[in-house]
Amino acid sequence: MNAEDWKKIQRMMSKRSLWMVHFCTGCGAVEMPPVMTSRYDMERFGMGPMATPRQADILLITGYLAVKTLKRVVRVYEQMQDPKYVIAFGSCTMNGGMYWDSYNTVKRVDKYIPVDLYIAGCMPRPEAIMDAFLKLMKMIEEGKADGWKRYKEHYEEYRRNQMRVFRRWDE
């Protein structure tokens, strides 16, 4: 077996065992329980919620991010261990949504951390969420979900962008 095969096996395992830490910032969190419970049951695919970012593979951002929250999100993201994926959830994470002119809400999350997948909708339905998960799995299998690599490669730019909204970091 060569390295490529190993990679394949690893991706297969990553795909079938996605543990997520969900950062419940907005109203999107209410759509998660249906996804977990008997109607949609995401544990079918080996997915499950985890308590801490150390154990998790997916960071699920379920709603708008204030500046203050973004800082926490970045920290949590950096505490996760590679490979790690980010799913941003709902319109607010894409363009601010109804908070498009708010003085305190960041408008596009992928300016600050690499987002692998956006789920559109305000709110997205559980079907959409399931669909997104399946799509992420596919991306992982194909090796396209490489946000964590991009973050490493372009760390300087990401950090510069983050620091445009933060004044200080280590506090």
Partner: protein, 604 residues
């Protein structure tokens, strides 16, 4: 070996050293260490000489004896005193000369107690040891010293009373003469000796001096708890297996092959172990925690002596040995922490292990021994006592001991987590590892624990010779394995298996590299380190405490305080005899004359 050498090395030399080191001032502990090293080296070289001597000193005829038992105990006390003094070179900062000389007096006293073959010298040296401990404790706290001394006096006077009884019946002070005490007198003599020696072992309910005394200078307490408290165990061993013959003990009646006094002792020991453990769990003061742990561990020794089968007695002796080592290391570890941080409350410490890794390793290994993890010898001695109790089918003693050993995990983790792991406080960020000689003081004691864990047969040889010397059957063992009537274990197999399993785990572990992050880089909901200390060591076992709260309100110490207050009230009444009124005094004189006269007339 002749008498002069023996007396000179074990008693005169420490006393001389005491005077010398007192006059030396700041370098006292170095000299004292050298003086305490001599008996240790001597013990190591000459262990195994058996002989008896008699001579006079201090106005009394003293008889000394060297037998396997006192060699065994001298090894413990010499080891612990040596490492305590070695440690104290740096750790004792204030009036080191007083400390060192009193330590050497205690060493002389302990050696004398152990070597004695008659009650007079036993008592004399017992008291010498007692007052030197008193003064040593007084260096830290007068009240603790007072409490210690009251119990020390109770212990000494019980022993003295017992000696008086022996003398009354036999007219001799020799141990060998105790056989002449008639059986009915043992009814008094046995409890008297048990209480007398039991105080030094901090047997419940005579233990309350221990948490106080053990809160004084920790390097001394390492010796007090490690070495000197073993003298109580020594005394109880002598009482049961040398003074009282089997016939005497059996004369009290037996309970399933165990004599009634033995069974009572075992019960007391089991309760001591249980209650001591439960109290240790809730201590926030590191020193008090270790003190209660000491009380509990000596409870096991009591159980072993009480059960009286060769396995139990051997286990108790071995446990006393182990306890001497690991508790000395633990107290030295706490001394190290106090030396570096000046703090003894567990909730105020934390993360010391990252700055003092070698100290942590020493403490960790001795905590393994304390908790009875099989990679140290602490397990084997506990195992022996358990097996003895199980094979006797005792259903009160055994569960108490077993659950106490589970409780030991709780308080040992409190030490590990509260002091050494967890968050390092900002004010402790700059502390350093101990200097080498202090580490050496701890690691000297670690080595035997590890060696005897793999090859317990080495120490069983010695324990066996003690048992045979006192007329018991030997143990069943080989160099690496040991057996009871109901089970057995092979430590070599265990170690090989452990190593193999460890290798497998290591192999799996080494497959991937890990990245080290700062210890404050923790998941706290995205928050980072703030000024708020997040070390979760304050009131660590709060839920358990809430459950136990109704029972914790009963305290032996409060009981004693109440008794003391009650008596003081009585004394006030008695003191009213001295009214301060001359007329009353004149009346007293008249009445005294009448009473004296009537008595005289009656006696006529």
């Amino acid at each position: 070996m002749d008498l002069q050498t023996l007396f000179g090395i074990f008693i005169v030399l420490p006393v001389l050293g005491a005077f010398l080191s007192y006059s030396l001032g700041k370098r006292a502990s170095i000299v004292a260490t050298a003086f305490s090293a001599v008996p240790l080296i001597f013990t190591y070289l000459r262990m195994g000489d058996w002989s008896q001597y008699t001579f006079t000193a201090l106005g009394i005829n003293m008889s000394f004896e060297l037998n396997p038992l006192n060699w065994f105990f001298i090894l413990m006390t010499s080891l612990t005193s040596f490492s305590a003094l070695l440690f104290s070179i740096s750790s004792v900062k204030e009036r080191q000369n007083g400390f060192a000389s009193l330590m050497l007096f205690a060493v002389a006293g302990a050696n004398g107690v152990l070597l004695a073959r008659d009650f007079l010298s036993l008592f004399v040296f017992w008291e010498i040891m007692s007052w030197s401990i008193f003064l040593l404790v007084m260096r830290a706290s007068g009240e603790s010293a007072r409490i210690y001394m009251i119990f020390g006096a109770i212990s000494a006077y019980f022993i003295l009373f017992g000696i008086g009884i022996v003398y009354h019946y036999t007219g001799s002070f020799l141990y060998s003469a105790v056989g002449g005490v008639p059986a009915y007198a043992w009814k008094y003599l046995l409890p008297i000796f048990i209480v007398g020696f039991g105080v030094k072992m901090a047997m419940m309910p005579l233990h309350i001096w221990a948490p106080h005394a053990y809160s004084s200078e920790q390097s001394f307490v390492a010796y007090l708890s490690g070495g000197l408290s073993k003298l109580g165990a020594y005394g109880i061993f002598l009482t049961f297996y040398s003074f009282a013959t089997v016939g005497v003990l059996a004369g009290f009646g037996t309970f399933r092959t165990v004599t009634i006094p033995g069974y009572a002792l075992a019960l007391v020991g089991a309760f001591t172990a249980f209650i001591g453990t439960m109290l240790a769990i809730f201590q926030d003061d590191l020193r008090k925690l270790l003190a209660y742990s000491s009380i509990a561990q000596l409870g096991y020794v009591l159980v072993g002596f009480g059960l009286g089968t060769p396995l139990a007695v051997g286990g108790a002796l071995f446990h006393a040995f182990n306890h001497a080592l690991f508790k000395a290391v633990l107290f030295l570890g706490s001394a190290a922490v106090i030396y570096r941080t000046g703090e003894y409350r567990i909730s105020e410490l934390g993360g010391i292990a990252y700055r003092m890794p070698f100290t942590f390793m020493a403490v960790l290994i001795s905590i393994f021994a304390l908790a009875g993890i099989p990679i140290t010898s602490g397990f084997i001695s506990k195992w022996m006592i358990y097996e003895a109790a199980i094979s006797l089918k005792f259903v009160i003693v055994t569960p108490l001991m077993l659950i106490a050993s589970v409780g030991a995990f709780l308080y040992s983790f409190r030490i590990l987590y509260g002091v050494f792991l967890g968050q390092l406080h900002r004010r402790h960020e700059h502390i350093k590892e101990l200097p080498p000689h202090m580490l050496a003081a701890m690691y000297i004691l670690i080595v035997p624990m590890m060696v005897f864990a793999v090859a317990p047969g080495l120490i069983f040889d010695w324990i066996n010779s003690i048992l045979v010397y006192y007329g018991m059957n030997g143990l069943t063992y080989t160099t690496f394995s040991y057996q009871s009537s109901v089970g057995g274990a092979n430590m070599l197999v265990f170690f090989v298996a452990f190593m193999a399993a460890f290798m497998v785990a290591m192999g799996l572990f080494m497959m991937k590299k890990a990245r080290t992050v700062d210890q404050y880089d923790n998941y706290l909901g995205g928050e980072v380190r703030t000024d708020v200390e997040l070390h979760a060591a304050h009131n660590f076992y709060k839920p358990l405490r809430e459950v136990w709260e109704p029972l914790l309100k009963y305290s032996t110490e409060r009981f004693y305080t109440r008794v003391a207050r009650f008596f003081a009230g009585g004394f006030e009444e008695i003191k009213k005899v001295y009214t301060g009124n001359p007329q009353d005094y004149a009346a007293y004189a008249a009445m005294a004359f009448i009473v004296f006269f009537l008595i005289g007339w009656w006696l006529l």
